[in-house]
């Protein structure tokens, strides 16, 4: 199990690094998925089986599929990868790297200062997690359910085709629609509809 932990950890780090250096979005996503799966194994090895399973099901299985879906839907192609590669060049790296270096230094200092003692945590059952989740953390569960509801509504709203429709009416002169509706595209055309031929 120790070995599994270390191997998975190394895989996770390597694939994460590869993720942030790819210029092809799908390749980066694939590495990210690999990294997430490796993290799932790490979780399992650390004695958190429920979270490991959820990492696979939700993170790798749902959230990342969503990413892949959107990337596929945008269908960026090779040109985008080339642009991406161009953006990645040059010495723009400098500022972020500097900041991250300071951060890493600080974290390292923290880790080194605190003397970590080895201890075995043992497995935390799904049952334990569930009991704690619906016991002391009930408020958190409620809040995240509200957050998810908000996200659902927000995503639905953003995905609505209303804006296009309103503009479509004024295909030839969509700026006119903007001006006429006072900038309110959702109501654009509502006012002029009766006069339209």
């Amino acid at each position: 199990m120790e070995a599994a932990f270390y191997i998975a950890a190394i895989v996770a780090i390597v694939s994460t690094v590869l993720t942030i250096t790819r210029s092809n979005a799908v390749h980066a996503l694939l590495y990210l998925i690999v990294s997430l799966l490796a993290v799932a194994v790490v979780f399992y090895a650390m004695g958190a089986p429920l979270v490991a399973a959820l990492e696979v099901i939700i993170y790798a299985g749902a959230i990342m599929v969503l990413f892949v879906f959107v990337v596929m839907m945008l269908n960026l192609g090779k040109r985008a990868a080339i642009t991406e590669g161009q953006w990645m060049q040059g010495n723009i790296w400098l500022g972020p790297v500097l900041l991250s270096a300071v951060l890493v230094a600080e974290v390292l200092y923290l880790i080194l200062r605190a003397r970590l003692t080895e201890s075995a945590g043992g497995v935390v059952d799904p049952k334990q997690v569930g009991l704690a989740l619906y016991g002391p953390y009930l408020i958190g569960v409620e809040l995240s359910s509200m957050l998810l509801l908000g996200a659902l509504v927000g995503a639905c709203h953003l995905g609505r085709p209303v804006l296009e429709k309103a503009e479509g009416r004024y295909d030839r002169n969509s700026d006119g629609a903007r001006a006429h509706s006072g900038g309110n595209l959702i109501r654009a055309g509502a006012r002029r509809a009766p006069n339209a031929p």
Partner: protein, 77 residues
């Protein structure tokens, strides 16, 4: 430097996941379920963030026909 919105979102996912690893590790260090619960909340938040974020990305792509984060600076004060 990343200017592609998709990559930025992916990076955020990585960071969230890193936080999650820290929480779970801390939880298992003490043998408590709290770390895992925090991870579950992070998971919920990530799901919410991704769904809204990707919907925004799609909308922005429709508007600007590229994914440059700097092109989407319409909300400047």
């Amino acid at each position: 430097m990343r200017r592609n919105l998709i990559f930025i979102l992916m990076s955020i996912e990585i960071m969230l996941n890193g936080t999650g690893v820290a929480f779970v590790a801390a939880g298992s260090r003490w043998g408590q379920p709290d770390g895992q619960i925090m991870f579950l909340f992070i998971l919920a938040m990530a799901a919410a963030e991704v769904s809204v974020g990707l919907a925004l990305v799609l909308r922005l792509y429709h508007l600007h026909h590229n994914l440059d984060a700097d092109a989407a600076n319409e909300m400047r004060g």
